[in-house]
Amino acid sequence: MRQAGKVFAVIAVAAWSIAPFLWQAVTSVKPDAELARLPPLLPVGPTLEHYRAVFTGASFLRIIANSAIVASSATLLSLAIGSLAAFGLAKLRVRSRGLILLFVLSASMFPPIATVSPLYLVIRALGLRDTVWALIMTYTTFTLPLTIWVLTNFFRGIPEEIYRASLVDGCTPFRSFVRVMLPLAAPGIATTGILAFIFSWNEFLFALTFTATDASRTIPVAIALFPGLHEVPWGDIAAASVVVTIPLVLLVFLFQRRIIEGLTAGAVKG
């Protein structure tokens, strides 16, 4: 009896988590005529017309490319700058270390609405409005606190002797960082990389403010401002949603453990 209750609860939780996405998937294969009524719940004559509509014309592909470029560049840059800082904070002598760590932590708490307008003015003054550069720069720095925080813990966990030994072998600290420490921190790099990528792929407020056309528009903005002539094209929106969500669902299923580890390290362990 108790066992049955547990199984039922597990199924209910799983259903609640996945149902809205499944419904979106069902919507994406229903012809327009079937979208205008309910029931039936399931498509009678499933179709791929919405996927075809979404991929017709260059615009959606361009937007996916923008998102991919922005998210991967920001992730790589954030990892480069962040791991350097984390290594310094964990293994080297850094002036006012505690203060810097506190600053990094508080930087992650800044409400975006309080920083978006000055950054918009900067971006405009630099002539970077509506370019992917504006978003790459912003996301790189916004993901830095997480990168630094998680990686500092990671570098601390690498035994001091290994670092010392590399110095004895004639490495400079920077060389030791690149050749010895970075490879050892690979699991931490993967964890923070995945989280930084998901953050950059999903961000909306800055993308909405800094972009104006398909030249730099990213997926969240495109979906929020989905063009419709007369009625909201629910089928097309559903198809687009499914396409851009599948990479994330894959990431979750493949790297579940890493994601959980990173989120926990980012918040609770501080």
Binding site: F103, L105, P111
Partner: protein, 283 residues
């Protein structure tokens, strides 16, 4: 420590980059909030505390503040309750545990904008899934009462996984022997939870509570995409109001004043958060 190599230059790029997107903007926003700046006409003039005086008399500000507090309170408390339940469930052993945990994580990974569109579609009053399943004709996003609660429900769905993960991490920190000992002493079910697990989990719950409160208080995209702040501003949160003033009417002065209010509120909460973290991790 003193025998170590000098590492300031390793840290410098990160500190500079972070200052550029935090310290510099906040100082600028503070400066702008004391000015009348209309981007459209290229006007900037110093007006002292005029914007703040205007804010205190601005009904739309108080409405947005009320909405934000309601949204935050409702969604965070529901997320904690639901998250605690799910965390306790997932902490037990059952088949396909890894798979179920991954499924539970899915809403967290879906972009907020996509979730908002998904829910907007389910909330559709004529052909939406929700009304169909309930057999009702509720105008979820069009009625002042339901719209805000509909936004809360969406946020709860989207963010509970995050709470679950943190609470599960907290549950793992409770030593198995403690639970065993309590069981031997005859504690089971509710009393085990109430007397042993809950008190031991309290520090983590506190951290999650403050962390989530900070996050919910600055909510923008979830509500903005779902309702746009409507109907009749009943779901307009502080961030949405500030955004509209900043980028739709281009009043950078007053918009900055609103942004400063959000900043101060979240700043106060982050001080609490830092204290809670310190208490948990130890000095």
């Amino acid at each position: 420590m003193s025998g170590r190599e000098e590492g300031n230059r390793f840290v410098l790029p990160a500190v500079l980059a972070l200052s550029l997107v935090t310290v510099y903007p906040v100082l600028t926003v503070l400066y702008l909030s004391l000015h009348r700046k209309l981007l459209l006409f290229d006007i900037t003039e110093f007006t002292g505390f005029d914007n703040y005086r205007f804010l205190l008399a601005d009904d739309r500000f108080w409405n947005a503040l009320g909405n934000t507090v309601y949204f935050t309170t409702a969604s965070v408390s529901l997320e904690l309750l639901l998250g605690l339940g799910i965390a306790l469930l997932l902490n037990r052993t059952f088949r396909f545990k890894g798979l179920v945990t991954a499924v539970v994580l899915v809403p967290w990974a879906i972009p907020t904008v996509v979730s908002a569109k998904m829910w907007e579609w389910m909330y559709n009053s004529d052909i939406g899934l929700l009304n169909h399943l309930l057999g009702m004709k509720i105008n979820w996003l069009g009625s002042p009462f339901w719209a805000m609660n509909a936004a809360v429900a969406m946020d709860v769905w989207k963010t509970t996984p995050f709470v679950v993960i943190l609470l599960m991490a907290g549950l793992k920190l409770i030593p198995g022997e403690v639970i065993q000992a309590a069981r031997i002493d005859g504690a089971g079910g509710w009393s085990l939870f109430r007397r042993i697990i809950l008190p031991l989990l309290m520090p983590v719950i506190l951290v999650v509570l403050i962390f989530r409160t900070m996050d919910a208080f600055r909510v923008f995209d979830a509500v903005y995409v779902l309702t746009g702040g409507g109907p009749a501003n009943t779901t307009e949160t502080l961030s949405i109001y500030a955004y509209k003033v900043l980028f739709q009417t281009l009043q950078f002065g007053y918009g900055s004043t609103l942004a400063i209010v959000v900043f101060l509120c979240v700043g106060a909460m982050s001080l609490l958060y830092l204290r809670a973290l310190k208490a948990e991790v130890g000095p």
